[in-house]
């Protein structure tokens, strides 16, 4: 139980939608969500396939705890080969779509092939159809969601969709569900677009059962009480994730103006506290906090832009409240581009949701373009006449809209920073790993974060490991490999449960809930082993896709240019010291390949 024991396989080339039994042996080895989808991806496609071709497979995956009363149980992941990186992509999202898919009776939705014409997938329990999407091809995320609900006279449909960015192959296009929750990174939305699949709409009425309801409720209630008492949880509820901006500013890890600096003079105008501040005229950016499905934290922000702000003064359609700034958005469309106008940043966040793209990669790509502009490599002739200087709030919002709609210079920005910087002859200005842009932590100030970025299976990513304690404690490469490896394994397991990584539970608290909900004996040790298996399978996918140890690296800016200020002033990232130690701990060869002993130990040989 807890698994629905069913996969929905949709072949867009033939139009056949067919349920099949979930491979329960794989579920016992890979749990759900990230892990199970990785196994299905590995077994169903050639890792060297073109990510934008029909051979790529796109998986929406729930976890065993998705849809249960475990706190934060609304998570699902989109797993595919990512067009931004060419590596495996795994983008996790909240909102209500994931639980609804599971209530419809499916653990995984596996999509293969490519439709000749635009379609959307409609799932109502066992009734599954492909519907023509020509009327909504070209529509925004927000309009698509509304159109589909109206079309079927069913306000209870939950919708995951792409905008124009995904349709037109923006390399970091996102899948957006429930208006502003995103499977955001690595371009999973572009894969959907390449398949001519506009949206997935689902309604489920079957429910989710657990193995031992009494024990499960005890474990879930215990874990919820831990959250009530947690100070970290309390801060997330009050400030959202954007409290981190204050922390990174103080520490000197806040990437600013394309990572040239690590502290931003405008930080206090765009951080979590700024969102809570009431202006003299009574306006406040934050309207309320908001929970995803099952979440007892509610870190989500609902914000409002001043109606007289230049971005929307003549655009009444944006006068409503919508999803507000999270830390990664605030950094990427704030400090990374030098903009301290909270309304402009919030509006840019709206646009990335409305058009379906990852605000991190968009912001960091724009930051690279701004540096190119200030160097004189590109001029107004390239940028549609826009003065693309750091700090220009109008340029930020104009370019967000151009990228979302794929107009003018937005087409260049939609390539991502790596391809764009290579095009202009300055690859060193792309702040990315394996083609994916960094999140809001500078690797010179946070050394373990740098190792996590460099070894990230989906490219630079802050969500697949947690070395904060070690990084705050000591700013050298010493002692970072072990917490990096261990937290990567832990996070891979957590990502495969169906709950959110923002719960600060011990691994045994996860194990107690999974063990009560699912078949099989689950304890902390087994979860760590499962996580390690997942990490290694992702690695094998990437090696088969053509990646090598040479791709586990950081841009020269972080390896050679000394950190300009903050607690790590004068330091560079010590990747050369950390990486060999990390490979050793992983049981990998010097060139970053799992040894046969490692594969055998994890059941991967």
């Amino acid at each position: 139980m807890s698994w629905q024991r069913q996969v929905l396989r949709v072949n867009l080339t033939t139009g056949i939608c067919k349920p099949e039994p979930l491979n329960m042996a794989w579920a016992q080895e890979y749990l759900g969500t990230r892990g199970l989808a990785t196994k299905y991806l590995w077994e169903n496609m050639d890792p060297s396939a073109d990510p934008m071709g029909p051979e790529n497979v796109l998986i929406f995956a729930t976890g065993p705890l998705t849809g249960t009363m475990a706190s934060t149980s609304g998570r699902y992941a989109v797993v595919t080969k990512g067009p931004l990186t060419g590596a495996i992509a795994c983008s996790n999202s909240g909102g209500k779509f994931g639980a609804e898919l599971k209530y419809a009776g499916y653990d995984l939705l596996l999509i293969e092939g490519r439709s000749e014409v635009p379609v959307y997938l409609l799932i109502q329990d066992e009734k599954v159809t492909l519907e023509p999407a020509d009327e909504i091809w070209g529509a925004t995320v927000w309009n698509t969601e509304e159109w589909i609900r109206n079309k079927h006279s069913n306000p209870q449909l939950k919708v995951a969709t792409i905008g124009v960015a995904g349709e037109q192959g923006v390399r970091y296009a996102a899948v957006i569900n429930d208006l502003h929750r995103a499977a955001g990174r690595s371009g999973v939305g572009a894969v959907m677009g390449s398949k001519n699949l506009k949206a997935v709409a689902t309604r489920g009425t079957r429910g989710v059962a657990v193995k031992d309801p009494v024990r499960f409720m005890e474990a879930a209630n215990h874990a919820k009480r831990l959250l009530v008492e947690s100070s970290g949880r309390a801060a997330l509820t009050k400030y959202g994730t954007n409290e981190m901006l204050t922390t990174q500013q103080a520490f000197g890890g806040l990437p600013t103006r394309n990572f040239q600096e690590v502290q931003f003079e405008g930080a206090d105008k765009i951080d979590g506290a700024a969102m809570l501040r009431t202006a003299e005229d009574g306006h406040r950016n934050l309207v309320t906090n908001k929970a995803c499905f099952g979440c007892t934290i509610a870190c989500g922000r609902i914000a409002h832009i001043r109606e007289d702000h230049f971005t929307i003064v003549n655009r009444k359609e944006y006068w409503h409240a919508s999803g507000g700034l999270e830390y990664e958005t605030a950094f990427a469309v704030g400090s990374a581009v030098g903009v301290d106008d909270i309304d402009a940043c919030t509006f840019t966040g709206y646009l990335t949701n409305e058009h379906g793209m990852d605000p991190i990669s968009f912001g960091v790509t724009l930051a690279a373009a701004m540096e190119l502009y200030e160097m004189g490599v590109i001029t107004k002739d390239d940028t549609d006449g826009v003065e693309l200087t750091f700090g220009n709030a109008e340029a930020l919002t104009v370019m967000a809209e151009k990228t979302g709609k794929q107009e003018g210079f937005g087409k260049i920005l939609g390539m991502g920073s790596k391809r764009m910087c290579e095009k202009y002859g300055h690859p060193e200005l792309s702040m990315s790993v394996k083609g994916q842009e960094f999140a809001g932590y500078d690797s010179r100030a946070l050394q373990g974060m740098g190792l996590g970025y460099a070894t990230g299976n989906r490219g630079a990513c802050h969500l697949k490991h947690d070395t904060f304690d070690a990084d705050y404690n000591d700013q050298s490469g010493k002692g970072k490999a072990e917490p990096c490896k261990k937290s990567q394994d832990r996070q891979a397991a957590v990502d495969s449960t169906g709950v959110c990584m923002f719960v600060d539970w011990g691994i045994k608290d996860f194990a107690a809930q999974i063990d009560a909900a699912c078949e099989g004996d689950w304890d902390a040790g087994r979860l760590f082993e499962t996580g390690e298996r997942i990490w290694n399978l992702e690695r094998m996918f990437n090696l088969s896709a053509g990646f090598t140890a040479a791709d586990d690296t950081l841009p020269d800016r972080l390896l050679k240019e000394p950190c300009p200020s903050g607690t790590a002033k004068g330091k560079v990232n010590e990747l050369d010291k950390m990486l060999p130690e990390y490979y050793g701990l992983r049981g990998w060869t010097e060139d970053g390949r799992p040894t046969s002993e490692t594969l055998e130990r994890l059941g991967l040989s």
């Binding site: 209500k96 429930d178 309320t288 499905f293 099952g294 509610a298 609902i302």
Partner: protein, 157 residues
């Protein structure tokens, strides 16, 4: 003294723990589609509003039922569907002005809030106390106090 569900939408974050708890209590599985309480969202999630049966004193659902399947739990004041007597005619769903009696196509009968025998599980599950279970004659007291303050204290400052 009867008690009543007291709902403060301004505290609701839209997490749906109440919907899961309700379905778990009545169906033994987590299934918001079968919940007797529902959360509605407006304006991109700015408003999350829980809604359920208010247990009308003069219950139209009960009056409309041709088989007397809806009875009063006198101790709680709840109007309770007797599943064995319900024939699924849906007359009650038409009679209820608020739409809080729902037909369940799986059982062929109707579902409505029964206050969980005096221990409403939506209340227990709510992480923000947006739903509480209080004396039925004081559900308006907070609002009265709020308006008293607004119309007198603030007005005289």
């Amino acid at each position: 003294m009867h008690k009543a569900l007291h709902i403060k939408p301004e505290l609701c974050t839209g997490c749906l723990q109440c919907e899961m708890a309700c379905s778990f209590e009545h169906e033994g599985v987590f299934n918001p589609a079968r919940s007797r309480i529902r959360i509605f969202e407006f304006e991109h999630g700015r408003y999350s509003v829980p809604y359920t049966c208010t247990q009308c004193a003069e219950a139209w659902c009960m009056k409309a039922c041709p088989t007397d399947a809806i009875i009063i739990d006198h101790q709680l004041g709840a109007k309770v569907v007797q599943a064995e007597a319900c024939v699924g005619c849906k007359a009650c769903t038409l009679a209820c002005p608020f739409g809080t009696v729902e037909f369940n196509p799986e059982s062929g009968k109707v579902d409505k809030c029964d206050l969980c025998g005096g221990d409403p599980q939506c209340v227990t599950a709510c992480p923000t106390s947006a739903i509480t279970y209080i004396d039925a004659d004081s559900t308006g007291i907070d609002r009265m106090r709020h308006w008293a303050e607004k119309t007198f204290v603030e007005a005289t400052q």
